[in-house]
């Protein structure tokens, strides 16, 4: 018995030794290659001579080693490769986020340029202050509501600490309602990946907030604007953002009900622009039109902005920032299909181009001149519309989406002013609301099924495919997103701002509006050395009646 046991032990040892030899044979060449590379790497003396050609900098010498006695191992190289992937994605997401942040300057110039000179300081200040209001509210609670349950993003290292999504269970299916982790970015969310996603999502949120200031310009009480912006940054935007991007119920329409890939909004035609646009509509409805905008018979007067050059330069700044908005929404440039960033950037350019064409041609044909402000709005309309589908469509689809948006924005501006009788000084409701909704819808039509972001989107395998490419279910998911924007976001914003109107008042006094908001609200003129041109007679008459 003892002999048999000894024999068995010997056999087991022989097997183990042979396995060890195989393992050594597998790792051996790799280790040998690493040693050869280390031997061939430039010495400190060579590096001290300088590297004008860049051929010696960045070698095996730069790979951090876990054990200096052993030198560089395969494990060290693998760790460095993983960190490089995350580093590339961090840098990509941060830099594109910085571009989006700069869009605030574009919005400020467009909105102030389209307003009268007597309100320039007030309009610029709203666009400036909304950044602080939004950021504060988002850091406080908004980010937690939106992204508190958004764990699982491999591009940014997993974001494992964002694991708290409040779920509702219906008929055996689970629906995310709001996130719960990340208030003040404290606790476990004090994490490098979370900081990156916070910055990126924050600048998107702020874009939505600044849309509202355009529709309510020249008559919005500054204090009420601040409170309204904080509430929007804390609740309205984050709720819809969670449903679409934070693991919420809209994104689960595909995995739970088989509706395509669920609601798909690549960079935010719905989440950012339509949320901003429908909130702008709600505020504009509550606040009412500017004095002199509409006559007693309901006809409207054109109130011309003071600086078309600021408007057009602002539009270009926005178009530049959009290269952060759309390609940045991959949240990475390395792995998981992220090399599609080139297609997304070209789609973005093209839609802006065809949007401009659409608006210019429409105005030229119907009004006889290529209206400059509508040309700018056409560019923005194309960019807004391509924001949701930019990650899923080809260049032909992008061009068509932009062209339709460019014409649509002209119709919408006329409809909002002449039929709805809503005063929107900059066309924000049409550019961001109408064209944002069109962008959401267009995903369900034009998505070509070629994108592949890691093999799945919203937890559903395969590529997002629209009606024109064979999947009618995706369109249903997009329509549900539109219905939510109107049925929930508009109503929620309306009630919130209505309460504010009752409590503190949304609108400045008629006297302040007639004088211009720069002095009464801000205490300083935007252009103190300007001599103001007298207002048109229809305005002076209306202003006299309003202040009488």
């Amino acid at each position: 018995m003892k002999r048999l046991r000894n024999k068995l032990l010997l056999c087991a040892m022989a097997v183990l030794l042979s396995l060890g030899n195989v393992a050594h044979a597998q790792t051996g060449p790799a280790e040998a290659q690493l040693k050869a590379a280390a031997a061939a790497a430039p010495t400190p003396a060579q590096m001290a001579q300088g590297d004008p050609g860049g051929t010696m900098t960045g070698t095996i010498n730069d790979v951090p080693v876990s054990n200096p006695k052993v030198g560089v191992t395969v494990g060290d190289v693998a760790n460095q490769v993983g960190q490089n992937k995350i580093a590339i994605n961090f840098v990509w997401t941060l830099v594109t986020g910085f571009l989006v942040m700069f869009m605030q300057a574009g919005f400020a110039m467009v909105e102030a340029g389209l307003c009268r000179v007597k309100n320039a300081n007030h309009t610029y200040m709203m666009n400036f202050t909304v950044y602080a209001c939004g950021l504060f509210a988002y850091w406080l609670i908004g980010f937690a509501i939106q992204m508190g349950g958004a764990a699982g993003n491999g591009n940014l290292g997993g974001l494992a600490s964002l694991s708290g999504e409040h779920m509702l269970t219906l008929f055996g299916t689970h629906w995310g309602i709001w996130g719960e982790k990340g208030m003040f970015l404290s606790g476990h969310t004090y994490d490098v990946g979370v900081m990156v996603i916070f910055l990126f999502e924050m600048v998107f949120m702020d874009t939505a907030l600044t849309i509202v200031t355009g529709a309510a310009a020249e008559r919005w009480k500054f204090l009420t604007f601040c409170v309204s912006s904080v509430l929007m940054g804390a609740f309205t935007y984050p709720l819809f953002g969670n449903w679409a991007w934070g693991g919420g119920w809209l994104s689960a329409l595909g995995s739970n009900l088989g509706l395509g890939h669920g609601y798909c909004d690549f960079a935010g035609s719905g989440v950012v622009h339509a949320v901003g646009g429908v909130t702008a509509l709600a505020v504009a409805l509550i606040i009412g039109p500017r004095i002199g905008k509409f006559n007693k018979d309901g006809s409207s007067n054109a109130i011309i902005g003071h600086d078309i050059s600021a408007v057009l330069v602002g539009c270009f700044i926005l178009a530049f920032g959009w290269f952060g908005f759309n390609p940045g929404s991959t949240l990475g440039a390395s792995a998981a299909g992220n090399l599609r960033i080139g297609t997304i950037a070209v789609d973005t350019m093209l839609a802006g181009c065809t949007g401009t064409f659409g608006a210019i041609l429409y105005m030229w044909i119907t009004k006889g001149k290529p209206d400059a402000s509508m040309a700018g709005n056409g560019l923005l309309a194309g960019l807004v519309a391509i924001t949701a589908p930019s990650g899923f469509v080809n260049t032909v689809g992008a061009a068509i989406i932009g062209l339709i948006a460019g014409v649509l924005v002209c119709y919408s501006v006329a409809f909002v002013e002449n039929v709805m009788k809503v005063d929107d000084p900059v066309g924000a409701i049409s550019v961001h609301g109408t064209c944002g909704l069109w962008g959401v819808l267009s995903v369900g039509l034009f998505a070509d099924g070629k994108s592949n972001y890691g093999g799945a989107w919203n937890g559903v395998n395969g590529s997002v495919t629209g009606l024109f490419y064979g999947d009618p279910n995706q369109l249903v998911a997009q329509l549900i997103g539109i219905a939510t924007l109107l049925g929930f976001v508009f109503t929620f914003s309306f009630v919130l701002n209505w309460i504010l109107d009752v409590l503190v008042g949304q609108r400045v006094s008629a006297e302040a509006e007639v004088e211009g908001l720069d002095l009464p609200e801000m205490g300083q003129l935007g252009y103190p050395e300007f001599i103001f041109k007298p207002e048109p007679s229809f305005l002076t008459l209306a202003e006299a009646q309003a202040t009488a």
Binding site: T173, L259, P289, K296, K421, P472, L479, A483, L486, T491
Partner: protein, 69 residues
């Protein structure tokens, strides 16, 4: 607010109620119905109810704006 009559206030409230109602109809329909055609029909119906609500809110606004010179 000060010039808002009971009728216009009711129009506004009814419009907001229709907006929410259309949304809820649509949400329940996609969960309860499994046929794609029926889902399409109810989604469109829900959207139409919402647009009716939006029109009523806008109607209230128009009635106020017409008198503001």
């Amino acid at each position: 607010m000060s010039g808002m009559t009971t009728l216009t206030l009711q129009t506004r409230l009814a419009g907001l109620a229709l907006l929410v109602a259309g949304w809820i109809v649509l949400l329940f329909s996609i969960v309860l119905l499994s046929t794609p055609v029926l889902r399409y029909v109810f989604v469109i119906a829900g959207l139409l109810v919402e647009l009716l609500g939006l029109a009523m809110v806008g109607l209230h606004h128009r009635s106020e704006t017409g008198g503001r010179a």
